[in-house]
Symmetry: C2
Subunit: 422 residues, 2 copies
């Protein structure tokens, strides 16, 4: 380990309680969509402590809303600010964006929680609460890594641009707004919960809606109608075949251990209005995975083509095609080369600090890294503490030791990537 690495690691160890305290304060704020302000206030306070150049604004405006990658479930972001805090470098080094989202998904059924989701209970090296893993723990790593460098009296050549964004859980309008505000860098790290694996590629995804038609009739003479529910069973089977076809193409060794790299998930079904009538309409809603190297338009065209082929399986669909629509949320995929300087620098920092090789993987879910790379043109990697399996579930927690280790790796990466100013 280099001296500067030793210094920041020592500081991070000595200030472990401060990492926990910051995470506690953040988890205590129920920052579900529309309610992010108090969590951002905690972040803002920390940015002030670190003397960052602070930019706080509510996303909005024509350029955002008319952007091809804008998707949102709401029309206004009033009282839901983004924060960017810049630790300006002395010049000459490479810059980096450290991006984390402050919004959390709702806690769901409280009966399934063994602790209050917003009390940030600490027990056995774990901090419990909604958002602890997804991804306030990661955000704490970013802020504490920056503080460790500063507190150790080290200054960097390159800029570190910390972003605390809203709306990741609903399609990324917060990160898109930060890109449109002009923030650029030589690389970006998004510390979503990867269990400290380096996620070099991420699956994107988008939502679809399919309307399957039938013809109504009385249930007692149901043979006079055509059941949209029975036709839907064909559609479900047909989509499973499309999923197989799409996944067979994926030969990337990073996806080797993943049973279905880009799943097509049918999440909702609804149809028919009366038990004694033949259903004349069933609506399916689902999520289609996008491989890291795929374009959204190509996936949509393939999907539509596949739906068109239903008519070769069942004459009914010739006159009554299932209607496909893309709606709601969408996450862009992301990929970066294994030989990219960012991958190499992060891997080196990992080896330096943890004295073992990092696991390099591809993730089955999308993050704002897709927007940063595809809309922002910024090479991006997802790497953070916490387990994916915990995200969005009751009794979400983060392993505190892991969060501390991750803070050290990120600090070591910054020292190397942005370069220490003599």
């Amino acid at each position: 380990m280099e001296d500067s690495q030793k210094q920041v690691c020592a500081w991070i160890n000595d200030n472990r309680h401060r990492s926990i305290k910051l995470l506690k304060k953040m988890v205590e704020q129920r920052s579900v969509q529309g309610n992010e302000a108090s969590a951002q206030a905690v972040v803002l306070e920390k940015c002030r402590q670190l003397s960052l150049d602070i930019d706080l604004w509510e996303p909005g405006g024509k350029a955002l809303k008319q952007h091809p990658h804008f998707v949102a479930t709401r029309t206004s972001f009033k009282d839901s600010p983004n924060i960017v805090g810049v630790m300006k470098g002395s010049g000459g080094g490479k810059s980096v964006i450290l991006n984390g989202h402050v919004d959390v998904v709702p806690e769901g059924d409280l009966k399934q929680w063994e602790v209050d989701p917003y009390q940030a209970v600490v027990k056995d090296n774990r901090l419990y609460g909604r958002g602890s893993t997804d991804m306030k723990g990661g955000n704490v790593c970013l802020l504490m890594a920056m503080e460790a460098i500063k507190a150790s009296g080290i200054s960097l050549k390159g800029d570190v641009i910390f972003q605390s964004v809203i709306e990741e859980e609903s399609g990324g309008a917060g990160t898109l707004a930060a890109i449109l505000r002009g923030y650029k860098a030589d690389a970006a790290i998004v510390p979503e919960p990867t269990k400290m694996k380096i996620f070099q590629k991420q699956q994107g995804s988008m939502w679809f809606r399919l309307k399957v038609k039938g013809r109504s009739a009385h249930g007692g003479t149901r043979y006079e109608g055509v059941s949209a529910i029975e036709k839907t069973t064909l559609v479900v089977e047909h989509l499973l075949q499309l999923e197989q076809k799409r996944n067979k193409r994926i030969t990337d060794p990073l996806y080797q251990t993943i049973p279905i790299p880009v799943p097509i998930n049918i999440g909702k079904i609804e149809g028919g209005t009366w038990p004694s009538s033949v259903a004349d309409l069933v609506t399916l809603e689902g999520r289609c995975g996008i491989a890291p190297n795929e374009k959204i338009e190509d996936v949509q065209a393939e999907f539509q083509g596949w739906i068109d082929e239903l008519s070769s399986k069942d004459e009914w669909f010739k006159e009554h095609p299932a209607e496909l629509e893309w709606f709601g949320a969408r996450w862009l995929p992301n990929e970066i080369e294994g030989t990219h300087p960012l991958t190499e620098a992060l891997s080196k920092a990992y080896v330096d600090i943890l004295e073992s090789e990092p696991v390099i993987e591809a993730s089955p879910w999308g993050t704002d890294a897709g927007l940063l790379s595809q809309a922002g043109g910024i090479p991006s990697i997802v790497f953070g503490p916490g387990e994916t399996e915990m995200a969005h579930f009751p009794n979400e927690f983060i392993d505190i030791d892991q969060m501390i280790s991750c803070t050290k790796v990120i600090a070591a990466f910054l020292l190397n990537w942005c370069e220490v100013s003599e």
Copy 2:
């Protein structure tokens, strides 16, 4: 034709305009569930004209609500009276119940109607309007047949018990209430729209609900969950097989021309809460047909047994069986022998009046005849004017000539069944 038959037929012909006028007045009343009072007022006025012994009451009370065959979608029948009008016989002849329901199903989408559903427009020998066929036309036949006999100066030996009941469209609580009030007879005729075929048997039906379980997971790692939607496609297929099995058993020649004598119709489907999540529950609601000779309990047991067998097709169902529930509406099946005196007497009246053999068939839907026979122990036949295909549909109409013919057949039947008093 006998003299008395000639007399009543002549009267019916001469008073055709009065049949139409009565039907018009009845169709003009929008007697959907909860709104039957004004239609019953029209019936009441007619019963008074005919000097019947009138019994008017609102169904209710413990005996009704705790009866095993009681099913209803509401808890009170306030302002929704039943009417019974008795034409007392001189004694010695056989008695008969003439049962018709006064409730109609809602008119549905008005845009699909070419006429106002409650203006009772007459055009080209047809009277249009909601309830014209189902079954105010049949009710008019009953009342006008009784009036024809009375106006012809004929009196009968047996009692004619006319019943104008509520709630047939929601499971028959009106007819059940009339049975529990003590009305009994040697036979019953229910003039639902059979196009003047004699429906010697009727399919019953009951509603089921099936809950199919899965296990939730994020859509991006959907292989970690179990999709209730995919499991449901197995359940739908499994139910289609049960339908086949049940219908193969039906060898009754009366069902020869019907593609599926006792259908299992899945009318509603709903499941999942989020496009990006694996659905952990799908609920199906449907209608199971009951063959005329089947007992409800036996059908329920067979259905449950079949659902239990899902586990032999897919291990998942062993630990997570689909849950079956019987809920909401239910119509009992009905059958009567071809050699029963009622069948023979009605057939004879048909031949006498129309000089051709009646068509004897089995119906794919249930009526209150099921309650009259199974709960009341009264041999029952369904026979009336109007086309089944029109019932519950926009632009419902009745053929006026057919209604007049049916009135004559019913009058001729009464003369013979109850016997003319000298």
